[in-house]
């Protein structure tokens, strides 16, 4: 086991807890950078997809896991980012401008949605964002002059410093860079007043307010940040799919994002990454085992969405910490071996039972 001896407040603020962190994350970064030279085109493409979903997952995690607001309309933000980026690109605007513009414009849309929905929470917010998602979906379909309607349009190839971003490897590296940027932003956010205000709103609005937190402003802000990150993911998603059509951004995609957050582990940035891996790799796994399933189960329509649903329910019931929680427990088991106690991860619920204490 590692014990941390702290001699300076800066240690608590640092991005890395200890040297081990720097080593392992550094190693991970190196592996990620050389991976395209080792793996085939298909796997690199899939990993690029994981990165893009991880970016959106981190965005949604900040909203759901940290601010405690739910959104079932994040596919719409992904779509807004994708269309903004691609339409501008088609007008001849360089990619290094369209990408941030897509992020900022989606963030503005997020704030615009955040403001009227501030008074809502829980189920009502879920329904409002769901409605928003389907409105935006309809706009994508009907606004022919810009989005090309149902026919959609081919996304132009972007150039970064004159180098074309083509094929799986190009998307892989750009997505990796944006993912690192988004992670860096989230990390900073969570160790500053802004992130703490989000957590405060999640845990108790009334006392957050009496600590001087402007609820409306911070809720709108976290909607904007979340939407902005998802917009960035959307811009990359356009290049990932290479052909934009409105049916890509439906409710099912929103549900996939929510699955990322819940299965990954609510309230942890790691969780968003784990969740994205799960959501992107499960369909591949299903594709592999599809033919071997008994009773013709593999040919049943709707196998994938129902598996997502079942996993989501099972995780919520039996593993509320998600994959990241499972990882923490496993780590603890090895660190404390052979002294692990069952109660180590059980939250103590209440000390005194009376109607005063809920």
């Amino acid at each position: 086991m590692r014990y941390l001896f702290r001699t300076d407040y800066a240690q608590d603020m640092a991005a890395w807890r200890h040297g081990g962190d720097i080593f392992w994350y550094g190693l991970l970064a190196v592996v990620m950078l050389v991976l395209p030279f080792l793996l085939g085109e298909f796997y690199i493409g899939e990993l690029g997809g994981v990165f893009i979903f991880a970016i959106a997952g981190v965005g949604l995690m900040l909203l759901v896991g940290y601010t405690g607001l739910i959104s079932l309309g994040h596919a719409a933000f992904l779509g807004i980012g994708a269309y903004t980026n691609s339409v501008l690109l088609a007008q001849g605007v360089p990619f290094l401008i369209t990408l941030p513009v897509a992020g900022l414009f989606t963030a503005a849309c997020g704030a615009a949605i955040g403001l009227p929905t501030l008074r809502m929470s829980g189920l009502y917010l879920a329904i409002a964002t769901l409605a928003f998602g389907s409105i935006v979906g309809t706009i994508f379909q009907k606004w022919n002059s810009v989005t090309g309607g149902f026919d959609g349009f081919a996304v132009p190839t972007p150039y970064v410093f004159g180098i074309p971003i083509e094929g799986a490897t190009g998307v892989y590296y750009v997505s990796l860079a944006v993912l690192v940027f988004v992670l860096w932003m989230s990390l900073n956010l969570l160790r500053t007043p802004l992130g703490r205000a989000m957590v405060a709103i999640r845990d108790s609005e009334v006392s957050a307010q009496s600590m001087g937190i402007h609820l409306a402003r911070y809720k709108a802000m976290s909607f904007a940040i979340s939407a902005g990150m998802t917009g960035l993911a959307g811009a990359l998603f356009a290049h990932y799919v290479r052909y934009l059509a409105p049916d890509a951004f439906d409710v099912l995609l929103s549900v996939q994002f929510v699955t990322i957050v819940f299965v990954g582990g609510l309230g942890s940035i790691h969780g968003a990454i784990f969740g994205a891996l799960f959501v992107r790799l499960l369909p591949q796994f299903i594709a592999i085992i599809r033919d071997d399933l008994p009773f013709g189960l593999g040919r049943t329509p709707g196998l994938e969405p129902s598996l997502f649903g079942i996993v989501l329910v099972l995780v919520i019931l039996f593993q509320p910490g998600g994959i990241f929680g499972l990882w923490l427990k496993t780590k603890h088991w090895f660190q404390a071996f052979p002294l692990k106690r069952k109660a180590s991860f059980r939250r103590q619920k209440s000390y005194a039972k009376s109607e005063r204490l809920r």
């Binding site: 608590d12 703490r196 845990d203 957050a208 009496s210 600590m211 005194a352």
Partner: protein, 256 residues
């Protein structure tokens, strides 16, 4: 000059007058207690002062400034902090994080500086941390610094909530039933904290409390309420033996 003044404040919920033209003044550096049976409107007065509810009538004046219509999130910045009857801590955050949230009204760095974690943010964070550390050592919470609130015993949580309020560096502290749910020893401890807060930190305290021993131990003046009206106001002993107060608590014939 009084630090806080309520002038004829009233609030109606539908037909019920929860607080009915109540006036009181709190002097700088005193501990002012509000007592009364359940439903007398004590917590409602706190919610009026912290601006969670709007007053129907009357005026709230803090430090010479009219705060009757100040938005609730600005109250902490003015120097009024509060605790809650049922503990409203941020349960899934560590004790330290809870105290740092109490520093929120003192953070001035901008959004971009926070997102990029610029040196200005780093300097400010360090200052917040130092102030939070002061509160931790004042209340003796060192051993729980990194514990999640959800894993802390109830008595400690009460103290943490007090600490979080102190982190806002208030001039006026509103304590809503600081002893509720605490055992006799813990209540006594809470009494000592309140005395220290008054003497060492020079913070004025308004306290809603049921435990009469705590009230007599720490208060300079007491106000008794029933059905939203003031029954009596004055020295603790004077109020506790006031015939109207005794009647409100023990019951008796009404004059109507």
């Amino acid at each position: 000059m009084s630090l806080f003044k309520a002038e004829e404040i009233s609030v109606r919920f539908g037909g019920i007058r929860a607080v009915d033209s109540v006036s009181f003044e709190v002097q700088q550096g005193e501990v002012f207690s509000i007592i009364g049976p359940n439903g007398a409107g004590k917590t409602t007065i706190f919610n009026l002062i912290s601006r969670i509810y709007n007053t129907t009538d009357g005026k709230l004046i803090f430090n010479g400034q009219d705060i009757t219509r100040t938005p609730p999130y600005k109250i902490a910045g003015l120097g009024i902090a509060r605790t809650f009857q049922n503990i409203e801590l941020f349960a899934n955050a560590s004790l330290l994080q809870n105290l740092l949230i109490g520093r929120h009204c003192h953070s001035k760095v901008g959004f971009l500086s926070q997102i990029a974690f610029l040196p200005s943010t780093r300097t400010e964070e360090r200052r917040h941390r130092e102030r939070a550390e002061d509160v931790i050592s004042f209340l003796g919470l060192e051993r729980y610094r990194d514990t999640l609130i959800a894993n802390l015993p109830y008595g400690v949580r009460k103290v943490v909530e007090l600490g979080r309020a102190l982190c806002t560096e208030p001039r006026l502290l509103l304590l809503d039933e600081p002893s509720s749910g605490l055992n006799v020893e813990e209540t006594e401890g809470m009494g000592f904290w309140i005395e220290d807060i008054k003497k060492d930190l020079g913070i004025t305290v308004i306290m809603v409390e049921h435990d009469m021993s705590l009230v007599s131990q720490v208060s300079d003046r007491v106000m008794a309420l029933n059905y939203g009206r003031v029954l009596a106001m004055g020295e603790p002993r004077e109020v506790q033996t006031h015939p109207e107060v005794v009647k409100a608590y023990i019951g008796g014939e009404t004059e109507e």
